[in-house]
Amino acid sequence: MTAATGALRHAAPRSALWRRRGVRKAATLYLLISPWLLGFALLSAIPLALALLMSFTNYDGLNLEYVRFLGFDNYARALTDADAQHALGRTLVLVVAVVPIGLVVQLSLALMLNQPIRLSALFRTIFYLPYVIPVVAGAWVWKLFTDPSGGLLNALIGIASPDVNIRWLVDYPTVVLALFTIWGATGGGMVVFLAGLQGIPAEYREAAMIDGASRVQVTRFITLPLLTPVIFFNLVIGIIAALQILVQPMLLAPGIVGLGPGTVPPSDNYLYAVHAYITIFVHQLFGYGSALLWLLFLVVVGLTFILFKTSRRWVFYGVEP
């Protein structure tokens, strides 16, 4: 874009009128986006820079008396931190568990709800509801739901096979975390898929069906390919979010539901953001914690880049109607 403008500038005669219009265009753009520019500078860029700065020090979050510059020590430490490595591993496991299944669930529900069925509004509401329930309340619900003694889940399982008393949160904490996360996130993604589906012109589907295609074939060869941009969108957003999950494992940790210091998830649910949070607020290592979070940022950027690069293979930006 800039190259083209640059070329134009050299090609066209340097008339005062043109230059003025160029300046005017730039002024317009920057004025229009100024709210975001200011907001970004004040609320994102500066805090991010401060966080970067903190990551090079031993700041303990309490006062600046003892701040020392440490260079890249924090980063070196982060790369050899066994807890951080374990946490990153568990986080990647969770991403692999939650994102594909979540996408499949959201997409399937959207496909099913896109058909002419009765009570579609009711179904949509049911699936959207967990998205709206505040996460603290959701955690209460799931802890209770999976409680070995007083929980509904074991009671239902007990109907089929009595005397089976699975300690969900103790023996399968990641399963509960994954289910809780997927349950809560479905609403948002499903709505986006629904919108994407309704953006696909009906003519395409009808034409295929007139030609004799079955519903399944229509879905597989027409609907899904045309939906890949939306799938890609949800995939990227989903992975970015999953890498940062913090609140859900903390709230599901044994003991009282809450986010206070002293809450420690079981080691299977000890995710990367949890590790950073505990490092900052329990061990008071703001500097080291910031380094951990900056490394996470780099991982996110890297993964997103890979996703975009590989997206050309399978994302089909079709023709607009």
Partner: protein, 282 residues
């Protein structure tokens, strides 16, 4: 819907169409059912072993308690005020910025847009402490100003959305307005905004819900007196000895969610259409 003539749906087809949906709905509803049912139990029935599925006597008093203990109306108003203010500001600001990115070429535009997308990737926790330090320095803690500022600054997600949306508007509309002598701002208000009803509404609802459900930022930035309902509810439902009252908490959750549910059930066709028109797939 379909113009083709089809035979009347067979029983098998109906089962295929509704079956999986019912299974999924049941799976989703089980925890919700548990919320509803727990909200009507006595505390002793809540954690009873062997499990008590349905309460023996419906404890509607829990709902009374949920309203009283949390001073529900007052904090609900706080939440509505905060969420509403943020939603309105952020949508207008994001639409304006999205319009800028969509329609006005200038050097640096694409690079800035890439920066915008990159901000979606920043882990929130990184910004958490420095943002708090900044707000505290300027005396903005215990006020709603941080949300006003966030609203005015726009949301990258919403800006992205609007940019996609506005990019698909036919340029003839712009040109026609320009011929009439309208400047960029007037074009925005006369051409773009009026035609974005559903997109505005959909985005506003998403943004409203984000603040409505947020727990982390109000805990840190607001005081006990002016905090939101989400935070209040997490702490308020205890008996005089400090023991948490989960049954009342569940009643509180139902009250918290019910108006949203009603609203969503009513407005969801609207929301979906709103996202459709943003042409996100492109």
């Amino acid at each position: 819907m379909s113009l083709a003539i089809r035979p009347r749906a067979s029983a098998r087809a109906i089962a295929l169409r509704y079956g999986p949906l019912l299974v999924a709905a049941t799976a989703f509803t089980l925890p919700l059912f548990w919320v509803a049912v727990t909200s009507l139990k006595r505390q002793s029935e809540y954690n009873a072993s062997p499990i008590v599925i349905l309460p023996s006597v419906l404890q509607w008093v829990n709902y009374e308690q949920a309203v009283l203990l949390a001073d529900f109306a007052r904090f609900a108003l706080n939440s509505i005020l905060l969420s509403g203010t943020y939603a309105v500001l952020v949508v207008l600001s994001s639409a304006l910025v999205g319009y800028g990115f969509a329609r006005h070429r200038a050097p640096g535009r694409d690079r800035l847009f890439a920066v915008l997308l990159a901000t979606l990737m920043v882990p929130n926790l990184v910004l958490f402490v420095p943002q708090f330090v900044l707000f505290a320095r300027f005396g903005l803690t215990n006020t709603y100003w941080p949300w006003v500022l966030w609203g005015l600054g726009g949301s990258p997600f919403a800006i992205f959305l609007f940019r996609q949306f506005f990019a698909s508007f036919p340029r003839e509309l712009d040109d026609a307005a320009e011929v009439d002598g309208a400047g960029p701002l007037r074009i925005f208000f006369r051409v773009y905004l009026p035609n974005s009803g559903p997109a505005l509404a959909a985005t506003a609802i998403f943004m409203f819900l984000w603040v409505w459900g947020d727990y982390l930022y109000p805990t840190l930035l607001l005081s006990v007196n002016n905090t939101t309902l989400a935070v209040r509810m997490a702490n308020a439902y205890v008996d005089p000895r400090g023991n948490p009252l989960q049954t009342v908490t569940m009643a509180g959750v139902v009250l918290y969610v019910l108006p949203l549910v009603a609203f969503f059930a009513f407005a969801q066709r609207f929301i979906v259409r709103g996202i459709v028109t943003t042409g996100i797939k492109g």
